[in-house]
């Protein structure tokens, strides 16, 4: 038996300040996610209940494990005060363990650490590439629109849009209505960044605070939404980008393009009447095009929906189906689409993500790119020897 250590009172800490120093700590935090299971102890095989999940206090989010928790009454969103919790390190990050030595009780909103906005570090959009919280952002609302989503059984309205500062643009999702309007300059605290399908996403919920500020130096929405095209070779060094324009030549049409059949449930393209997820289905006819735009410095894959495909191809879904009835060879349709697209100069604007296959653009707009030949010739001539300076 070891001699009992002198009982040092636990120190109350904010989650961002946790270090696995071996001293018990006291924290007040909100349960963000939780999961109950039973874990067999290695020593004697006794199964013990474990509650684990994520805690957040607005300065950081950490994992926690709670051995032998109360059977009920612990819910997501609840605020708890834990006295005498142990800090451990897991994969280089601190996490909290609540054991029989820890006293855990409910706490009120007011007990959460009060964070003065000016005490949080000011971040630029460019630096919000990885999951992060506990920062301050000053940005312009470039655009915003409500969208209905279903969370489980419940229908909720989220507000989605874009935020921009001088360093870049990021997509946001707001689960509370802060009354954001395009063009407003705002200071946001209490929000966090997560990665969603390879794109960083700025998330505001009821814990976030939004303050309107003077726009000083923030870009106008029009500047962001009408920015000139960027070189793909330059975009390639970023993992993702929002509302960017690219311009180049269509060099390749990727199959399947043209007339496709989609699963009525998940909208995936079905091959041979089989959906990858839902098995044998009766596909619903649709038009799409997937093609490669090349600007000489890099390439990007673009997928267009029915409306954009109809416009670029100048063939409607009905027309495509009629043609297929007249000449039942689907490759003729694809060839006709290739004829309409490959070699054309297009400008596409949208969000870009990069994966191991390269860059992919989800277009918000796509149109023929025209070159003003007189201006182009003048600009080129100015760069040649003998040009008037």
């Amino acid at each position: 038996m070891s001699t009992p250590e002198p009982a040092a009172p636990p120190i109350e800490l904010r989650l961002r300040d946790l270090t696995p120093a071996g001293v018990p700590v006291e924290v007040v935090a909100r349960i963000v996610t939780l999961e109950r299971r039973e874990v067999a102890r290695r020593a004697d095989g006794v199964r013990r209940p474990l509650l684990s999940g994520l805690l957040s206090d607005g300065t950081a989010t950490v994992r926690f494990s709670w051995w032998d928790p109360p059977r009920e009454g612990i819910e997501r969103g609840e605020i708890v005060r834990a006295v005498g919790a142990e800090v451990r390190e897991f994969r280089g990050r601190p996490e909290l363990v609540f054991s029989w030595k820890t006293r855990v009780g409910p706490a009120g909103e007011a007990e959460l650490p009060r964070i003065a906005p000016e005490s949080l570090p000011l971040r630029a959009v460019r630096d919000l590439r990885q999951p992060v919280e506990g920062f301050r952002l000053e940005a312009r609302v470039v655009r915003t629109a409500p969208r209905a989503v279903s969370v489980g059984e419940e229908q909720r309205i989220v507000h989605e849009g874009l935020l921009a500062d001088h360093s870049g643009t990021i997509a946001f999702t707001s689960w509370s209505d802060f009354g954001l309007k395009a063009g407003e300059a705002v200071r946001i605290t209490g929000a966090y960044v997560r990665l969603f399908r390879g794109r960083p996403q700025f998330v505001l919920d009821e814990r976030a605070t939004v303050v309107r500020i003077e726009a000083g130096g923030l870009p106008e929405p029009a500047q962001v939404l009408r920015a000139p095209p960027r070189l793909l070779g330059e975009l390639d060094s970023e993992a993702s980008a929002e509302a960017v324009a690219v311009e180049g030549t269509v060099v390749h049409l990727l199959p399947p393009s043209g007339l496709v059949y989609r699963c009525p449930t998940c909208r995936r393209v079905v091959a041979g009447g089989i959906c990858r997820v839902h098995g044998e289905v009766t596909g619903v006819a649709d038009l799409r095009a997937r093609f490669v735009i090349d600007d000489g410095t890099g390439t990007v894959t673009v997928a267009t929906d029915r409306a954009a495909t109809e416009r670029l191809w100048n063939v409607t879904l009905e027309e495509a189906r009629r043609r297929l009835r007249d000449r039942p060879d689907p490759s003729l349709l694809e060839e006709s689409l290739a004829e309409a697209l490959v070699g054309r100069r297009l400008r596409a604007r949208g969000s870009v993500v990069r994966d191991e296959w390269g860059l992919h653009l989800t277009p918000e707009s796509i149109e023929a790119a025209e070159v003003d030949l007189d201006t182009a010739a003048e600009e080129l001539a100015r760069r040649l020897p003998g040009a008037p300076r």
Binding site: T249, D294, G298, W357, V371, L384
Partner: protein
């Protein structure tokens, strides 16, 4: 990671000047051709007047076609075979020269005399309107000049870091290509190439009609580039003789002082330049000495007395 190779927007002149190859190692690794003007390309986009295609080889029906694309700077051979069915069909469909856009992979062929010839194996050979052709040439011109600017900047300030250049807006692939071009073609005449883009600009402006198209290459099984006919060179001037003598002295001096017994070409050119002999004159003297059999270059970049 298999990311698609971009189609470098280049002039036929740039392809004509390209002689350096960078072979990928391992399986399924792309090879590149490095141009003197800052391109490191696996695939290209060229625009100009495309001749009707002619079948190559004796296969019946033919399986390979060849045409010629002429832009305002030069011409390049464009081919397509049965593995590029769409491009082959596009090549064969024309009966008269027409403005076209060609995207394809590069091939470097060395004849028996070692003379390199670059051709484009087309993946796309699309007939376009004259406006589209001129628009494509405008882009070709702009990117060619951007790449030249980058080369000049690197020549002036070789210590510039990639980071600085990227911040200045140059894509990483261009920076890599520029460094390769400077290393492989230290003597390239980039100023002449820049001037040569004047005809392209006139074409973009519409002041110049479509380039005159030479007849296509006649059908044959192998591509045999004709070595340049030996031109009876005028006897060198007194100045030329002096250059040659200076050259020979330096070759002796350098090869005596070197471990392998050869004179290093680059060092030689630097030393001769230090004596006030310009690059053009030095090259001419070197050519005469090599043609006359006085010195030889058994290893690339290494000279000795024959």
């Amino acid at each position: 990671m298999t990311v698609r190779e971009p189609a470098w927007k280049v002039t036929a002149r740039e392809l004509e000047a390209t002689t350096e190859e960078e072979r990928g190692e391992g399986e399924r690794v792309a090879s590149y051709l490095v141009s003197p003007f800052g391109a490191r390309m696996n695939r290209v986009l060229v625009a100009g007047m495309l001749t009707p295609a002619e079948p190559v080889g004796r296969d019946e029906p033919p399986t390979f076609w060849r045409a010629r694309l002429t832009d305002p700077t030069a011409a390049v051979v464009v081919t397509a075979g049965t593995f590029q069915p769409r491009a082959a069909a596009q090549l064969r469909s024309a009966t008269a020269p027409r403005p076209a856009l060609v995207v394809g992979k590069l091939h470097l062929y060395r004849g028996r005399d070692g003379a390199p010839q670059v051709s484009v194996r087309a993946e796309v050979a699309r007939s376009v309107s004259e406006i589209e052709e001129r628009s494509a040439l405008a882009e070709v011109g702009r990117q060619s000049l951007d790449r030249l600017d980058l080369l000049e900047r690197l020549e002036r300030l070789p210590a510039t870091s990639d980071e600085e250049l990227r911040t200045a807006g140059f894509p990483a692939v261009w920076i890599r290509a520029a460094r390769a071009a400077l290393q492989r073609y230290p003597q390239a005449d980039r100023a002449a190439f820049r001037s040569g883009l004047k005809s392209l600009v006139r074409r973009v402006a519409g002041d110049l009609g479509p380039p005159a198209v030479r007849p296509g290459v006649p059908p044959s099984v192998t591509v045999t580039p004709v070595p340049p006919a030996p031109v009876a060179a005028p006897p060198p001037s007194q100045e030329g003789r002096a250059d040659e003598a200076a050259f020979l002295d330096l070759v002796d001096e350098l090869s005596d002082g070197s471990v392998d017994g050869y004179a290093d070409l680059r060092e030689l050119l630097q030393r001769i330049a230090a004596r006030g002999v310009g690059a053009g004159r030095a090259e001419a003297a070197l050519d005469r000495l090599e043609e006359g059999g006085t010195i030889e270059e058994p290893i690339v970049g290494k000279l000795r007395r024959a």
